[in-house]
C-alpha cells in the first residue's frame, strides 16, 4: 500500500455524513486485513501466556494455544523457587518510590526553571535537553560508582534513587514548559496574600499541572518497571535485590530447559504493566504523543 493511495482514504473518512456503500465495503475489507495482522503482532504474548499454563512436554508437542489442562504449578515454581515473588516485591518497591521521588523533584526543578529568571538558566535547560539523548551505557559506570560510595549498594534504595535520577529529564522539561506558560498574576496574588515559595508552589501552581503530573508518573513507572541495565549492574553481586526484568534474564541462564517456568516468570513481569496500560491507555498515548510535541 503506497502513501499516495492511502492518504485520501482519510480524506474520504473526514466527510462523514454520506455513507457510500463502497466506502463501507472498503472499511470492512480493511478491518479484515488488519485483524489477523494485529493478532500476529501480539502472538508472542499469547504464546507466552499459553506456554506458562502448559507442561514443558506440551509446549514442545504443538502449537495449539489452549492447554489441555490449565497448570498453575509453573507459577508456583517461578514465584518460590526462582524467587520471582521476591523480585516482584523489589520491582514494586523501586517503581513506587522512584516515581514519588522523581515526580516530586522534577515538578520542583521544572517550577523553578519555568518561573524564575536567574543567570545561567539557559545553560541549565540546555544541559537537561542534551541529557535526554545520553545513552545509559555512557552514565552507568559513574552511577554505579556513586551508589557504592553513598553506601547504598546493599539496599533497594540504591536502585530506587538511580532510577528516579536517571529518567527525569523529559519530565523536568515538560514541567518547565508548562509552568512557564502559566500566568504570573497567580503568583503575585498569592504573594500579596502572604504565601511563601512553598505555599505558592504546592497550593497554587502544582494543582494546575495535573496533566503533566499524569504524564510524568506514566513515564517514570514505565521506565522503572522496564529498566534493565541499571538494576542488572547494581545487582550483579546482590541477587536478592534483583528486579523482575533481571530475574527473568537470569532465570533463563539457570534453568535453560524450563520453558514453562520461564514463560510463567515472564508473564508475572509483563502482565501488570500490560493491565495498567489497558486501563490508562489514553494517558499513555497522550504522554508519548506529548513528548513529540515538545
Amino acid at each position: 500500500m503506497s502513501l499516495a493511495t492511502a492518504t485520501p482514504r482519510r480524506v474520504r473518512g473526514a466527510r462523514i455524513p454520506r455513507h457510500h456503500w463502497r466506502t463501507t465495503l472498503r472499511v470492512v475489507v480493511l478491518s479484515l486485513i488488519l485483524l489477523p495482522i494485529c493478532l500476529a503482532w501480539i502472538y508472542p504474548f499469547v504464546w507466552m501466556v499459553s506456554a506458562s499454563l502448559k507442561s514443558n512436554k506440551e509446549i514442545f508437542a504443538g502449537l495449539n494455544p489452549f492447554p489441555s489442562v490449565v497448570r498453575l504449578d509453573n507459577y508456583v515454581r517461578a514465584w518460590t523457587q526462582a524467587n520471582m515473588g521476591r523480585y516482584f516485591f523489589n520491582t514494586v518497591f523501586i517503581t513506587v518510590f522512584s516515581t514519588v521521588i522523581s515526580v516530586g523533584s522534577t515538578a520542583l526543578i521544572g517550577y523553578v526553571l519555568g518561573r524564575y529568571r536567574f543567570p545561567g538558566k539557559k545553560v541549565v535547560i540546555g544541559l537537561f535537553a542534551a541529557a535526554i539523548f545520553l545513552p545509559e551505557g555512557y552514565t552507568i559506570i559513574p552511577v554505579f560508582d556513586m551508589i557504592t560510595m553513598l553506601g547504598l549498594s546493599g539496599s533497594l534504595w540504591g536502585v530506587t534513587l538511580a532510577e528516579a535520577g536517571g529518567a527525569h529529564v523529559v519530565a523536568t522539561l515538560l514541567f518547565a514548559g508548562y509552568f512557564g506558560q502559566l500566568p504570573g498574576e497567580l503568583e503575585e496574588a498569592a504573594r500579596i496574600d502572604g504565601a511563601g515559595f512553598w505555599r505558592i508552589f504546592a497550593n497554587v501552581y502544582l494543582p494546575l499541572a495535573k496533566p503533566v503530573i499524569a504524564t510524568a508518573i506514566i513515564l517514570q513507572v514505565m521506565h522503572s518497571w522496564n529498566s534493565f541495565l541499571l538494576p542488572l549492574v547494581l545487582t550483579l553481586s546482590r541477587p536478592e535485590l534483583r528486579t523482575l526484568a533481571v530475574g527473568v534474564y537470569s532465570f533463563r541462564g539457570e534453568y535453560l530447559n524450563d520453558w514453562a517456568g520461564m514463560a510463567a516468570a515472564s508473564t508475572i513481569t509483563l502482565l501488570p504493566i500490560i493491565i495498567v496500560f489497558l486501563f490508562l491507555q489514553r494517558y499513555f498515548v497522550e504522554s508519548i504523543a506529548g513528548a513529540l510535541k515538545n
Binding site: 554505579f144 533481571v246 527473568v248
Partner: protein, 300 residues
C-alpha cells in the same frame, strides 16, 4: 528545592562529567582507584576492531531500522486514522502493546520463540511447509543480527506509529474539505496539504526513532548476549561487557573489568548520539524557518 537539585546533579550532571574523567584512567575494578593515563584509552579505542565492529552494528540498526520503522508506522497510522474505521482504537492498542512491555523479558521470550530447536516460529513455518528445515534465527552468526533487528523493529514500530498519529491529527480537516471542493485530487492533496504539514513532524519522528535504534541494550543482551561470535554485539552491549567483564568466554575479556576503557567507549558513543541530537535541533529550526517563509508568502 535543594534535595531535588542535588538529585538531578548527582544522577544527571555528575555522571556526565565523571564519565570523561574515568575515560582517562587505567581502572580495572571498583575496589581500587585508577591511574591517570591521559588519552591512552582513546588511542586503544581507535585501533580496537571489536569496538568498531560493534559501533558499525549500531549504525546498521539505525540505517536499516529507522527507515523501516518510520515507513511501516506511517502506513499503519494512515490506515488507523480513517475515521470510519470503528475498530481503529482496538488495532492501535494491539500495535502499541509491545512498546510498553519490558524489553529484557521480551528478549528472553523471543529467544525461545525463535529457537531453532522446537521454537514455535520454526514449528509454524515447517508445518505450513514454507521451510524444509528450521532457520537458525539466533544461532547462525549470519542471521542473528537481522533477527534481533527484526524483533527490535516489531517492538518499536508502535511507538513511531503513535508519533505519526499525533502528527496526522494536526492536519485540519477543513483544509482537506476546501481542497476537495476546489477539485483537487488525492495526489495533489497529499502533495500540497498533508505533506507540508507533516514535514516538520517527520524530521522529529525520524530523529527520535534513530535515537531509540541506538539504545537496544536490554533487548539484545537478553536475546543473544551479543553472540554468536559477537555477531550481535551492538555498542551498548560492548560497553557493558567490557566494563563489567560480563561477557564470559563469549566476549573474550572474561575476568578483567575495564572501567576506564569502557568509559572511553561510552564517551565516544555519547558524543555521537549528542551530535545526532544537535543535528535534530538544527534540522527542526531549518524546517520551521522554511515553514515560516511559506506562511508569510501565503499571507501576502
Amino acid at each position: 528545592m535543594l534535595p531535588a537539585a542535588v538529585l538531578s546533579a548527582l544522577f544527571t550532571f555528575y555522571p556526565m562529567v565523571m564519565s570523561w574523567w574515568y575515560s582517562l584512567l587505567d581502572w580495572t575494578g571498583f575496589t581500587e582507584r585508577g591511574d591517570f593515563i591521559g588519552l591512552d584509552n582513546y588511542w586503544r579505542l581507535v585501533q580496537d576492531q571489536q569496538f568498531w565492529a560493534a559501533f558499525g552494528r549500531s549504525i546498521a540498526f539505525v540505517l536499516v531500522g529507522t527507515p523501516v520503522r518510520v515507513v511501516l508506522a506511517l502506513v499503519i497510522a494512515i490506515l488507523l486514522n480513517n475515521q470510519l474505521l470503528k475498530l481503529a482504537p482496538v488495532f492501535r492498542t494491539f500495535f502499541f502493546i509491545p512498546v510498553i512491555t519490558t524489553a529484557a523479558v521480551v528478549g528472553v521470550v523471543m529467544s525461545f520463540m525463535l529457537g531453532s530447536y522446537q521454537g514455535p516460529v520454526n514449528q509454524l513455518l515447517m508445518m505450513a511447509h514454507i521451510l524444509p528445515e528450521p532457520v537458525k534465527f539466533l544461532s547462525d552468526p549470519n542471521t542473528a543480527l537481522w533477527s534481533v533487528l527484526g524483533v527490535h523493529v516489531w517492538k518499536g514500530t508502535g511507538h513511531t506509529m503513535i508519533y505519526w498519529l499525533a502528527a496526522l491529527q494536526t492536519v485540519p480537516t477543513t483544509y482537506l474539505e476546501a481542497a476537495k471542493v476546489d477539485g483537487a485530487g488525492p495526489l495533489r492533496i497529499a502533495r500540497h496539504i498533508t505533506w507540508p504539514i507533516l514535514l516538520p513532524f517527520a524530521v522529529v519522528i525520524i530523529i527520535l526513532t534513530a535515537q531509540s535504534d541506538l539504545h537496544t541494550f536490554a533487548l539484545v543482551q537478553a536475546m543473544t548476549e551479543g553472540g554468536p561470535y559477537f555477531s550481535t554485539q551492538v555498542i551498548e552491549v560492548y560497553i557493558y561487557q567490557t566494563a563489567f567483564a560480563a561477557g564470559s568466554s563469549e566476549s573474550g575479556n572474561a575476568g578483567v573489568p575495564q572501567l576506564g576503557y569502557a568509559s572511553a567507549a561510552g564517551c565516544f558513543f555519547g558524543t555521537v548520539t549528542l551530535v545526532i541530537a544537535l543535528a535534530q535541533a538544527w534540522a527542526i529550526r531549518k524546517v520551521n524557518a522554511v515553514r515560516g517563509q511559506l506562511r508569510e508568502a501565503g499571507d501576502s
